[in-house]
Amino acid sequence: MKKSLGILLAAALLFSIVGCQQPAPKEWTVPFLNSLTGAIASIGEYLEWGAERAAKEINDAGGIKGKPVKIVGVDTALDPQKGSVEMARLVKDSLVTLGPVPEPVIMAAMPIAVENGMMSITATTSLEYAQKFFPWTISWFPSTEDRLAPLVAAWGKQFPDMKKVVQFVEPYGPWPGMADAHAKGLSGLGITMLDKVEVPTDAVTFGPLVVKALNEKPDGIVFVTAADKAAKLIKELKSRGWKNMDHLLVFSSADAPELYATGAKDINGIEIYNYINPNLDSPRWNAFKQAYADAHNGQQPPSLSTNYYDAVYMIKEAIEKTGVTGSPSKLKAERKLIADYLQNVKGFHGIMFDWDMKDGIPTNKPTYIFKIEDGKKVLVQEVKG
């Protein structure tokens, strides 16, 4: 009697365990906390486009472990209030998320991901923001100083005649820190850094700012402002007789469609640095470029458009190599597996180049300096930090 009761209990226990296990979902859902409306909606659009492009490619090739992946755009509208509630919803049952975008939303929403042990890849912000949330995010970039000082020094080395440089700096998030890194690189060459000219976030007239900068009699100028403002400042400079166009350097965050649309012919000859090389000739990149142009009236992919494309492939690799099943009952453990894997990915095949991560920081990503000619970027040199 006792034996049969024991067998019955064991069977009931086994049944309850098996019965309680929720099945793994039929597709991999990856929410993307993004700014799809509001002031940076145009950026949010191409970030999302990149992620969805990767998902399409993956699904066309059979999905992740045979299951399709779906990117679900979650609009935070550049609003920390909305971003925090959306993240609070997602941490309940998401395996991994993309975003948030940009810094104010990252600061409001990422503590929720950290508290709940969920990886959320913030692929557009600087290391200085991302590292506060390690190991539950990774940085897409190495430290600002390590990366930018040698890069801008490489630009400066082209022009031995350049002795004094001024920077236009817009006080937004990591940008002043980037300007400091530029200054460090140029000072190392013996170039005198003149007083920075602050460009207010809501600036509408640029003449007085340009006059202020020119009064310092610089030989070179670095622009650390939003794309449209950089274009307007360059137009003002040209109208006031600036000739040495290659002595003007625009920083990466301004490499956006607004720079080319607003600057038009006036930005011919200026130099710009960035992390992707649109002139690369590989089948994967060419297909990406073509698809982007088809979806965006012939435009070239902007600098950040590949970040979430690569991030989706990185998630694919993490799922495939760690044996993650997506089962809700293993959510906590599998989130950790993904986070641990992504912190130290080796030889990741990005769309532009391969790179390694060490403790959440990329170690060997190249950067590039280009010259703008007729609205296109022509490679001047590749710089490795």
């Binding site: 799809l36 409306t37 609003d79 909305k82 509630v85 609070a88 810094e103 600061m107 006080p171 998030g173």
Partner: protein, 296 residues
């Protein structure tokens, strides 16, 4: 408590308090946008006290209130009886000045902001309950005080100033003192509110305190009803909560929906959803019920 519910309740409470901090000076026809700057000043100061000087949160919160009151009082010495337009200009200017000062203060993170504010009570669950308890306790206290204010001689005086300043002055109302009172009270609320706002997110960034916040509060007040404190109570959760229920496909139309709703309300119901007459009728209905219950 489920996390989304916590954030919904906490941010709704902040929005109601912020709306009240604008509503109060609006009782004397002042649009006092300095409250957003006050949130930033008190919030960053409290974060600095907690993170750098290791001051307990309770004291930092009190300093936040006090700082708000002090800034509000000092400014009110100059604009306590100023015209509406001048008060608006001062408010906007103050937001710019505050942002510029904070951007240049390395001690509070400059443009990067402040990260990693500690959990009150040592763990996230206690933190959330403490934040909710403080916010809703504050809502009750502030709501009660504004309610009492509205039913006092001061509230009636404020109504007179709202309608006609000259007439109010001829009735012996000290317009400047009344303006100073409501402005200081408004800034005190905003100061505490700013501290709590950052501690909800456990971080501070300058873009938490932008003109968008003014927009949110103004929409809450003017659609909810600018003539009574109840308009904000009703509209804050709706304005903030309903879009979260929108399906993803119409999420991106959120701003259009807001805009259309705002225009419709301003055209069809200029006083907002909750009017003073509506509140009086509810009050008289309830007091009628009480009288009936008390009748033997």
């Amino acid at each position: 408590m489920p996390l989304p519910l916590y954030y919904f309740l906490a941010i709704t409470a902040v929005n109601v308090l912020l709306a009240w901090s604008l509503y109060l000076p609006y009782r004397v026809a002042h649009l006092h946008f300095i409250t957003v700057a006050n949130m930033a000043i008190s919030g960053y100061s409290a974060a600095f006290l907690v993170m750098t000087l290791h001051v307990p949160f309770g004291w930092a919160l009190l300093v936040g209130f006090a700082l708000g009151a002090l800034v509000g009082f000092i400014v009110s010495l100059f604009i306590g009886d100023a015209p509406t337009f001048a008060v608006v200009i001062v408010g906007f200017t103050f937001i710019y000045i505050t942002r510029t000062v904070i951007e240049n203060l390395k001690a509070v993170g400059g443009t990067m902001g402040i990260f990693g504010l500690p959990n009150i009570g040592g763990n996230p669950v206690t933190h959330r309950w403490v934040i909710i308890a403080i916010l809703y306790g504050l809502l009750l206290v502030v709501g009660f005080l504004i309610h009492r204010f509205e039913h006092s001689r001061l509230g009636r005086a404020a109504s007179a100033v709202f309608v006609d300043k000259d007439l109010a002055a001829s009735l012996g109302i000290d317009i400047k003192k009344l303006g100073m009172l409501v402005q200081t009270a408004s800034c005190t609320i905003a100061g505490g509110c700013g501290v709590l706002y950052g501690f909800i997110y456990k971080s501070f960034h300058l873009d938490f305190f932008t003109f968008a916040l003014v927009g949110i509060a103004m929409t809450i007040i003017f659609v909810g009803g600018y003539a009574t404190l109840w308009g904000s109570v009703v509209l804050a959760p709706i304005l903030y909560g309903v879009p979260l229920l929108f399906p993803a496909a119409i999420q991106s139309w959120r701003i259009v929906i807001y805009g259309a709703a705002l225009i419709l309300v301003l055209v069809l119901k200029p006083e907002g959803f909750i009017t003073r007459r509506f509140v009086y009728s509810i009050e008289s209905f309830l007091s009628g019920n009480r009288k009936k219950r008390n009748t033997p």
